[in-house]
Symmetry: C2
Subunit: 341 residues, 2 copies
């Protein structure tokens, strides 16, 4: 009897907002394990805004997804069979195997995680790429100093919510921009942000920023781009630093994303904008993960996850990212662990 | 008998392109020298694009000019009277006294220059703020490595022409963008740029850049902003660095300068944009001036000046900056030296 693998493949490249036609569910035999390989059953998959970029057929920092191939992405699984000395049945592993129920991995593709330290899902969130993105973008590029003002767009999202907490640890005044009163409440009450701005209910973002940032803006951690960022640019201080992490407002645009050119502002303020992706810091992941883990254990970091259930709901969860409703990291739980060691 | 000083003051803040109504010529008594002061007669004044920014009443890295006050800017003069131990008649000095024929300076406002080392006008150009702007912008922010491709807009201008030569010294492949065939010829034949693009006669800048930069663009030294920069952005390599030095295309716009937002490109390429002004590097001016002087003496740097004659022609010379006709540094010669030591 062969094991059947359910997969979600890219059915067609989306024009504008992706929808159900972007994806197709397919079934396929899992196949045979070879020496050095590991059979993994998916437990959690991550859905992330950057995946939208990989659906385009344009050169980027990661390969575009191929039509008719599985959507690749961060995932956590359980080893259910192994022909590798490095993994055994019941091990919980992290990899990029993406949107499928099973995966035959070469042992080098997987990293073992310790389920006793923190909930395993955190390795796709605050202790994983999400937390590391926040950590390196803020500290390496943003370099907030005590007493400086840090503004974060997409502040209640997976990355933004970690950025703000790290900025608070570093002694900065933290202002979060998000899209609902519930999110603002979360930022201020649970995460101790100093101020929050609900951009959907604010009529004049420039005025709101001026009020929330009476001393101007020293660091702007940009997750969204678009008009929100245009407004932030009007309030930058001299030597402002802008880690450019995401531009979710533009990912589904079919036309060129037009806005005020930034050159004159950058000159006036001697400001720095730096685009980055977490992969740039691969050789420092250990440093980041250890620090994040320590802060988490010390209670200096907190996090929220929005966990959807069921393999069939992965495309919906992904599409939800662009509706701006989720707080914290968005994950899909695909299966429970079968083995406990 | 009192000495009469001719001055050019800001008559009104320009809307859009400045014109003759922007300025007014006035006369005023020079006044009396006090202890520690020096009377300077202006020999050369510098006209620079950044001065347009100071005509606006908006916060910037330097104070806006005040209406009815003298236009301040880099100038070279000769000491004709001194009540300071540090200066004597006949000394050639550099200061920010700007568009006036005479100036009473406190001794701390002036720096003595040695007329035997290089033509004194070079201290407003390749050995002055212009050269230092090129030096620090390119080397501190651009950081070109041997074999990398450096693209420069406004390449035949005062700053651009120095940037390209320094990039060549550092072993980069250098591509200059300028607005006439004569300028392109100058860049390639006199300055040894590898390629030149005349943006006025080029129909498709993206294609022209692709052809001139088959390995993509690693450093883009931006003097102009606008559509030229939009095109350069399409050809950036991963980890590209963009020193943002000027945005002359936008200085005289009356409407918001709209263009494609840069965030998504910065992320895809992990690219860095940094606005700067030479004043940021004040504590390293000596280093820069010594290195530029050495390269000049070794024949590794060459320069051109466009020198207009006569105090009355200063406003015209300034307005010429925005017509894009000058090559190299634009100066106005106001008087000859009276004393030779």
């Amino acid at each position: 009897m062969t094991l059947v693998n359910k997969q979600i493949i890219l059915a067609e490249r989306p024009k504008g907002m992706p929808d159900q036609n972007t994806f197709r569910f397919v079934k396929q035999d899992v196949g045979e394990l070879k020496e050095g390989q590991v059979l993994v059953r998916t437990l959690y998959v991550s859905v992330d805004p950057y995946m939208r970029g990989r659906m385009e057929d344009t050169e980027s920092y990661v390969e575009p997804y191929k039509v008719n191939e599985v959507i690749e992405g961060g995932a956590i699984g359980e080893v259910i069979d192994s022909k590798s000395d490095r993994f055994q049945q019941g091990d919980v592993v992290l990899g990029m195997f993406g949107w499928q129920e099973y995966y035959i991995a070469n042992e080098k593709e997987l990293r073992k995680i310790d389920p006793s330290l923190a909930p395993i899902s955190t390795h796709l969130g605050i202790l994983g790429m999400t937390g590391l993105t926040a950590y390196f973008g803020l500290l390496d590029i943003g370099q907030p100093k005590e007493g400086e003002t840090v503004v974060i767009s997409g502040a209640a999202g997976a990355v933004g919510s970690v950025v703000g907490q790290i900025a608070k640890i570093k002694g900065a005044r933290v202002v979060g921009i998000a899209g609902s009163d519930e999110k603002i409440q979360y930022l201020q009450e649970e995460l101790q942000f100093d101020e929050g701005i609900n951009y959907r209910s604010t009529k004049n973002m420039e005025e709101a920023l001026k009020e929330a940032c009476p001393d101007g803006i020293d660091v702007y951690f940009d997750n969204v781009g678009g008009e929100i960022s245009d407004a932030v640019f009007t309030q930058l201080n001299r030597y402002a630093r802008i880690p450019v992490c995401g531009a979710i407002s533009s990912y589904n645009l079919e036309k060129t994303d037009l806005g005020p050119r930034v050159q004159a502002t950058l000159i006036k303020k001697s400001a720095l904008m730096q685009g980055f992706t977490v992969g740039n810091y691969a050789n420092r992941f250990n440093e980041g993960a250890m620090q994040l883990g320590q802060w988490l254990q010390e209670g200096k970091l907190t996090y929220r996850e929005t966990i959807k259930e069921g393999f069939e709901n992965i495309p919906n969860a992904f599409l939800d990212l662009f509706k701006g409703n989720n707080v914290g990291k968005l994950l899909v739980k695909v299966a429970d662990r079968q083995y406990q060691n």
